[in-house]
Subunit: 326 residues, 2 copies
């Protein structure tokens, strides 16, 4: 799966990050500097699987691939580049993305989980440079993640490690589309923030900003609460605090299990770092086992922003195998 | 910390596993065959720290240590062999076990977390031989654990990885002595089974066996329910099933995060493998994300029994560093 695992780095590496709404492609040079960037909407609807493969191969060609293309996809990806399941991509199940794209393009394509790609990028070029033990979580529509232990990404026996979003943190909690109750993703994702915000609005815990903005309590979203909180509204800040407690609860569980030096928060919600950083750190100290007897892990926000996944996919295609050396 | 990290294996290696009630010591030869085994009660009470060190050094001497001694202790152990905290050992906090024992014995002593030791033993000699990705949980009074990824034990940045017992799985659950609510240990340990059993007894869900044995509902223990379940009592089997759902919930969370090929259940409760195996496997398939699209991890019970920790401590002292090669 690594066409250039040895030998000199190729001059141009292409990475594509496939999200639920768009595919973002980048071309980077040997020094991992950005040469080009392009976006396409992610195809949706009945014929979307073929359209998705067409979109990705066109994107790779437009970015000038010379045989080094990596793709990050959201879901369970086997080590052979088969996407087993992808809840946010229409109709995708057991799709041999690596093989099918390789056929279309005429050379090997590397396919990995999108959060794994983001972790590789943040570990090699971003906020986690030089860290040996890192847990990365991507808080977006859902939650993805990746584990770096002793300097290398640990993918697990099938390549499925890092599915933190479906850790059950409250067996009596709200139903998750995955079929279980109280998955972490129901609380600590973008959808989780919206759910908590709407509950607060309907329970009268956001009456101040609702009155002053004439907003519909049943239509309040996470972005409304973020905006009100940034303006200093106490009720909105309380909802942000509740959300951060849930984020920290999962991060504390992962720290109990893995003892990382750094926790990296990526994904769409990382744009709210200014609001989230303080309360997440506060609740992490509250919720971590024996936190008074150990160094707290550093909580950082992803540095490469929305490009992390695409850059990581390019790095993996160009020979980085995420396994490092230990 | 590894006095014999290179060179030939010593002819005699000593390992001691310190539990809340007893210290179990073993001597093993180059082939890891058992040469000797001894037990001492773990000192309790006010002067127990000095008494504990005396006990351990006497045990090492009696087992014929020639400079290769490893000790497994329950709690957070730094990579320098300092026991930061040990809830089940009286008065122990920030105890430099490795240094203090080394002073008494006159040679370096290796100290590690007891579940880490057990994982090393099961990985090198027991049920997880040859497995590259393993999660081990010890279900005893509390819960300990260890992570093996890509063939090596992953200790985390401070050596504290594997504290699975304090992952919060129900924020509204019962208070844990650690100060949080709903830690996994409140449900899936020996104490958890007793708590679930007593709740069932007091709620009238064990009326059959209570009537026929004239037992006091408020004094029912996990071992009573295990005994009744083994005799085929349906009410007791339902409590075992409830317990196994909690065990599986934590195992599913860990599998989502780490994707191990094998889950090893050790600790005192592993003696109930005959009762627990089936329901744990059933609930794991129910609770694991996308379990229909992936191989279920193998659920096995520790093979080395109560000696696993002591044998693993001896292996670590004799040069195994638990990091393997990847």
């Amino acid at each position: 799966m690594s066409p250039a695992a040895s030998g000199p780095l190729p001059a141009r590496r292409i990475g594509i990050d496939v999200g639920g709404t768009k595919a973002l492609g980048v071309a980077i040079d040997r020094a991992a500097c950005l040469l080009d960037e392009q976006r396409r909407p992610t195809p949706r609807g009945p014929a979307s699987v073929v359209a998705l493969l067409d979109t990705l191969s066109a994107l790779a060609r437009d970015l000038g691939a010379g045989g080094v293309v990596g793709v990050g996809v959201p879901g369970l990806v086997t080590s052979a580049g088969v996407l087993r399941a992808a809840p946010n991509l229409d109709g995708v199940a057991d799709l041999a993305v690596a093989d099918l794209l390789s056929e279309r393009l005429g050379y090997a394509v590397t396919v990995d989980n999108d959060a794994t790609c983001a972790a590789v990028a943040e570990h090699e070029l971003g906020v986690a440079r030089g860290m040996r033990d890192v847990v990365l979580v991507t808080l977006g529509t859902g939650i993805g993640g990746a584990v770096i232990s002793d300097g290398a990404v640990r993918r697990g026996s099938n390549g499925f490690a890092g599915e933190f979003g479906h850790m059950v943190v409250d067996p009596d909690g709200p139903m998750c589309p995955c079929g279980r109750n109280g998955c972490w993703e129901r609380y600590a994702s973008g959808e989780g923030l919206t759910r908590l915000s709407r509950e607060a609005a309907l329970a009268g815990r956001l009456d101040g900003p609702l009155a002053s903005t004439h907003a519909d309590p049943g239509a309040v979203g996470g972005e409304d609460v973020e905006r009100w909180a940034r303006a200093g509204d106490g009720e909105a800040l309380a909802v942000i605090d509740e959300f951060c407690r849930w984020v920290a609860l999962g991060l504390a569980n992962l720290t109990n299990a893995l003892d990382p030096r750094m926790l990296v928060v990526g994904g769409g919600l990382s744009a709210g770092a200014d609001l989230l950083r303080g309360p997440i750190r506060h609740w992490l100290a509250e919720l971590l086992y024996q936190s008074h007897l150990r160094p707290l892990p550093i909580v950082e926000f992803a540095e490469l922003g929305e490009r992390a996944g695409a850059i990581g996919a390019a790095l993996l295609a160009g020979g980085a195998d995420g396994r490092g050396v230990d």
